[in-house]
């Protein structure tokens, strides 16, 4: 199966007055067609910048400083702005965290959904409107004919997110990038949206890259996961295997610090220290100052992702220590 998307050694820089901030500093991951990949990381990990770099939507101050983004055989990192614009919104769509700012406040939602087909797919006005209604039904908006005339601020948060998904789908994309789309939503609404995304992926065969800080959300939505820390991907693999048997101390630390609704753990362990300054990261493994298993050889050198087997890879050279630790004290109970 060929990869739909392959990102190799992605770098995004923010020039500062006193140096350069390496928001993304050598991140690599891949995605197969029809698959959902989750990128999990905390704030400052670079996950949002990595996502935006994929379609060239970086803020003005930032620049793509290196790496390859191979989408359907084309390297987007070195593509011309015209190529990027053609792909953006068409083959690759994006949905954002805060629908209120992503939707046009003075345009009716039906018009916004119809805009893509009307302008870029050459649909006639009536056909575009029908398509918009169809899409609204697809994403579960009740009474689409009436709701199409509503403005964004008249809808609830969940509805606005559905509108954004409808807009993303209107161009029949192959890939949808999701930047924390449910973080601002209530639990029950989040559940609705996640299940909607899952069913859309199955029905339409669209691939998804889902960025979130919430491990459980990723567990529920994605088949594969890439864990990001300090601008780099430190571990990848199938979600179930990575969460049951993490092979990187940071992944293990994250898993241990998250309270589980199903099981009351006695103590939430924490990761000591604080995330590094991305303008001046630690030498060697970025995580070593906070790592409970750090050794002498972690302090110097480069630590790219190394394949563990066909499906998993990790950047940690002592990954078996993390695996042993979780074997003694599992995070997820049961085999």
């Amino acid at each position: 199966m060929t990869e739909l998307l392959e990102v190799r050694d992605l770098r995004v820089d923010f020039p500062l007055s006193g140096g350069v901030l390496h928001a993304v500093d050598g991140a690599s991951f891949e995605l197969r067609a029809g698959e959902a990949l989750g990128i999990v990381g905390e704030s400052g990990s670079g996950k949002t910048m990595a996502l935006r770099a994929l379609v060239g939507l970086l803020p003005r101050a930032a620049r793509l400083a290196g790496g390859e983004i191979v989408f359907e055989g084309v390297d987007l990192a070195s593509a011309s702005p015209e190529t990027l614009r053609a792909i953006r919104g068409r083959s690759i769509a994006m949905i954002f965290q805060e629908p209120m700012t992503a939707l046009n406040p003075v345009m009716r939602v039906g018009e916004q959904i119809a805009e893509g087909p009307l302008v870029r797919l050459g649909y006639g006005r009536r056909r575009a409107h029908e398509r918009a209604i169809e899409l609204m039904r697809l994403v579960g908006i009740p009474d689409p004919e009436e709701r199409a005339d509503a403005y964004a601020h008249e809808l609830s948060g969940g509805m606005r997110q559905r509108v954004m998904i409808a807009i993303a789908l209107s161009m029949e994309p192959k890939l949808i990038l999701c930047d924390e789309p449910t973080t601002a939503l209530d639990v029950t609404i989040q559940d609705q949206i996640l299940k909607l995304l899952g069913s859309l992926r199955e029905r339409l065969g669209v691939s998804i890259v889902f960025v979130s800080h919430d491990l459980a959300v990723i567990a529920q939505t994605c088949r594969r996961v890439a864990v990001m820390y300090a601008g780099q991907i430190v571990e990848t693999g199938p979600v179930e295997r990575v969460f049951r048997e993490p092979r990187h101390p940071y992944t293990l630390g994250l898993l241990r610090s998250v309270p589980d609704v199903d099981d009351r753990r006695d103590v939430l362990s924490t990761i000591r220290g604080a995330p590094p300054d991305l303008a001046d990261p630690p030498s060697g493994c970025r995580f070593h100052p906070r790592c409970p298993f750090a050794q002498d050889d972690c302090v110097e050198g480069a630590f790219p992702l190394r394949a563990l087997d066909g499906e998993r890879s990790t950047a940690c050279i002592h990954h078996e220590l993390a695996a042993e630790d979780v074997g003694r004290e599992p995070v997820i109970a049961g085999g």
Partner: protein, 343 residues
């Protein structure tokens, strides 16, 4: 399980918080009645000394408003809050205010950006004469030590701290007055995952060390499960279920609680059901449904009782601790059907 003293430390009795809505000119001319936002709509709650009670609900359920009523920032439109049996007046005096303190959600708005940590803490210590003047400085250090911050933090400004550190300063501030009850309003929602754990552990540790009574308001059910002895679930301004923690999570009786628990994503990537746990959007608190507020979204709502009668909180047979506000909480469950809102 904590032994409950005969008299609860804090009692909330029939508290309501209604906000009148201003009518636009057009509405006034049409003779439309004044709308009322029923943020909190008749809540009864009890907190025993030394226990940690979780108050969960989604946005708009009124949990923050209730928390502020308890702390004395809002004056309830109806009902009263009683402390050690005595009702708390609308305008509380300084001594009374000391008893119940609050930690807020947004670490970036919780501290006055123009004051150093020392100034923020000392101000409270001096206003209440907590320690004699010469001892104020030492006490500030002690408070910071309690929350795990070094003395270096004393002369720093809030902008120099991370979110997690700011929350710790907020906790230190709340503890400066040595309250009996600490209301924590979503104290970790705005923090990173790994930092949440630090603050949660801190709250637990302080609760045990200082014998604090804790009211933890949160929307994250996992957080509440970890910290609290008992949990109360709120929906549209009312409590719909209260039970000891493990009991609630394993044997929820209210359809909303059940839906809420099903909706929480789990770390174990299992084959969750395709259908959403709770359908539809919560109705606006301005136009509440008749009868049981949850009936439009409820999979077991039965006409006509659920549309006309508002179920009170009833205890399960033989259970004193577990109450739920559903006509079918303790009886045979009707067959599930498509909720009204999704038809």
């Amino acid at each position: 399980m904590a032994e409950r003293a005969s008299q609860p430390l804090l009692e909330v009795s029939g508290v309501s918080m209604h906000f009148p809505l201003r009518r636009g000119l057009a509405q006034r001319l049409q003779g439309r009645p004044k709308g009322v936002l029923r943020a909190v709509d008749g809540v009864d709650l009890e907190l025993a000394k030394g226990e940690a009670l979780g108050l969960v609900g989604e946005s708009g359920c009124g949990k923050s408003t209730l928390g502020r009523c308890i702390v004395g920032l809002y004056e309830p439109t109806a009902g009263e809050v009683r402390y050690e049996g005595a009702p708390l007046p609308a305008k509380r005096d300084r001594a009374t205010r000391r008893r119940i303190q609050m930690v807020f959600q947004d670490p970036y708005a919780s501290l006055n950006p123009r004051l150093t940590v020392r100034q923020t803490l000392a101000e409270l210590l001096r206003a209440h004469d907590m320690v004699p003047r010469p001892a104020v400085d030492a006490r500030c250090r002690e408070l910071l030590d309690l929350v795990g911050l070094g003395a270096r933090s004393l002369d720093a400004y809030p902008r120099q701290f991370s979110g997690g550190q700011r929350q710790r300063v907020s906790i230190a501030r709340a503890l400066a007055l040595e309250p009996d009850v600490l209301v924590a309003d979503e104290p970790v929602s705005a923090l990173d995952v790994s930092v949440q754990a630090t603050v949660l552990n801190l709250l637990e540790e302080l609760q045990q060390k200082l014998g604090l009574t804790l009211l933890l308001i949160a929307h994250n059910l996992a957080v509440v499960r970890h910290v609290c002895d008992r949990v109360a679930v709120m929906y549209l301004g009312r409590i719909v279920e209260t039970a000891p923690t493990d009991e609630l999570y394993t044997n929820a009786r209210h359809p909303y609680t059940q839906g809420l628990l099903r909706a929480v994503p789990k770390l174990v990537p299992g084959r969750a059901s395709e259908a959403a746990a709770v359908v539809g959007d919560p109705p606006s608190p301005i136009r509440l449904p008749t009868g049981c507020h949850f009936h439009p979204r409820c999979p077991i709502a039965q006409a006509p009782v659920c549309m006309t009668d508002d179920p009170p909180l009833t205890a399960g047979p033989g259970l004193t601790d577990h109450v739920a506000a559903c006509h079918f909480a303790w009886t045979a469950k009707p067959t599930a059907h498509v909720p009204e809102v999704a038809r």
